[in-house]
Subunit: 382 residues, 2 copies
Amino acid sequence: MNVGNNERKALELRSLIKSSGELELSLAEVAVPQPAAGEVVVRMEATPLNPSDLGLLFGPADMSSVKASGSPSRPVVTARIPEAAMKAMANRLDVSMPVGNEGAGVVVEAGASPAAQALLGKTVALIGGAMYAQYRCIAADQCLLLPEGATPADGASSFVNPLTALGMVDTMRREGHSALVHTAAASNLGQMLNRICMKDGIALVNIVRKQEQADLLKSMGAKYVCITSSPSFLQDLTEALVATGATIAFDATGGGKLAGQILGCMEAALGRKSKEYSRYGTNTLKQVYIYGGLDTGPTEFNRNFGFAWSMGGWLLFPYLQKIGPQAVQALKQRVAAELKTTFASHYAKEISLAEVLDPAMIARYSQRTTGEKYLINPARAG
Amino acid sequence: MNVGNNERKALELRSLIKSSGELELSLAEVAVPQPAAGEVVVRMEATPLNPSDLGLLFGPADMSSVKASGSPSRPVVTARIPEAAMKAMANRLDVSMPVGNEGAGVVVEAGASPAAQALLGKTVALIGGAMYAQYRCIAADQCLLLPEGATPADGASSFVNPLTALGMVDTMRREGHSALVHTAAASNLGQMLNRICMKDGIALVNIVRKQEQADLLKSMGAKYVCITSSPSFLQDLTEALVATGATIAFDATGGGKLAGQILGCMEAALGRKSKEYSRYGTNTLKQVYIYGGLDTGPTEFNRNFGFAWSMGGWLLFPYLQKIGPQAVQALKQRVAAELKTTFASHYAKEISLAEVLDPAMIARYSQRTTGEKYLINPARAG
């Protein structure tokens, strides 16, 4: 950005799905707006590659068809969208879309309002899309001022994971449950949820796929960890549900049998406490919220859990809208206060904007491996 | 019943699942209690064989193993319970259970309270289990006084189907939807729901399996009927959802892909109205309540309907508890007022208690064929 002249151009990552069925990722040179009175311009220095970002970035592209072109400083990546998936893309066809839900950086320009001026020179976290860019112009009240000493990398993931984890605990309380279940529990988000639950004294049943993930969580103090690949998984889960009384679960996998198995084990755990026969099952509502789709296959379940059950989608933004700005502000304050403890995120690697478009890098970060989260630093030279 | 002496015995149908894995249905000779102050004794004359009754009557028995024994006046029926299904029966093992959710008859004895005395000689409908019996002693306030001229057969199904159909419409309104979808829609319940919706001006999308069922509903004035066996089913359903704006469904089938297909078509219908791309789908909550299990197979769906969705169980009795006695009373008054019109039930055949235990009869009424509902008259000689 050349502050002060009329150019004011900077790079921004774009994802475009063409009617022809081709996905194209590129770095566009875009104008950086002059901030309005209540706005600030942030030099982005840290923005994570979250699963939700990957969804917008690549859409339903066939990842085996990824091809590089362009130049080293203006790389271009293309991939093929399977024809069956094109119908669902109708509303984004031929629209070049900016990407990146959240990030952090330093305020380098501010509008005239006192709120905007107060942020000048400060390190802030922000949310609102289009974060995979060198500069982002945004309303001052969408920025979270980071505590003294916190770097942009410390604050890069201040919203999506922290608010999702806090939102799960808050939903648990609002809907009258007293303990909860989480799947894909060794994820960055899962580790955060584990820290929140330990701090707040809430019983959490962690479900993971592998022994190593269980070991990791246990080393972090997790009490209940069940491993889906274990032959005793259903028994282990039932015992953990009897011990904790958890009747709400947040499932990141979506596909397969897991969501239904959780409901079935909850019902079995409740049935142990009730001696009376009811052909309709227990009266206690058993809830599973699906908030991700790590398993993109169909969801399947046997309804062996009576009639007091519910399975549904859960998304951060509609949830935040539902609880209202005051409640959201309280959650954000907690995130800022515990940024380097409860809400600390760890990254496997920091990469530049150009490296996001490097096929070798794509092959790594698109795998969403536990503990392999990538951080983009748009201020870094390609 | 020999009123006035100490015998006071009468027949009552019982279902017993033995630890050995055998189901036994029989007619037990049981004592009829002297009514307490607030109670009445009803001579049962009409009680329907609802799907929910069949569930308690036969449990998970292998219907191909049904065998008759006993005498013509005290028939006994046995059948085998598959071993895999025995675990879920743990709480009813070796307990001889009375059957029959609802019915109607004439009050032949009444306790001292004015409410009970007021019912003496009157024809009433009642709910509360153990209706497959010659006499039923019950609290007067659990009786619904039938209007002048109504027979026990007219009032036999005053509760389960009418309150379920009214409960669906009420749930639709309480949860902020304006039109609804119903599956297995040509059933007795479905026809009732169609009459309620026509009367109340609510758009109803009926889903049936076959052309004949569609013809039946259309002949009764149904506007939207979609046939699952049609190759254009998903398109037809989407069009009906666009036309009606229905975002809530009540599904009697449970198993298979139908519940998920309804959510998918709702999302497609909503997507037509929204031009903006959202990778998370539309923001409008799409709800499917599963209230039956005509298809006992697993429930399966592809999550091609965004994140604003919910699928869950729906049961009449917890629903009635949730809305409270005043709201329930209002529903019951409507049933009584429209007993011979909106809430009229039709039966294929009236049978005696002993005939319920006739294997040839069992083979017919256990099929739950549309329009083939059976009515028991316990006052009828075997």
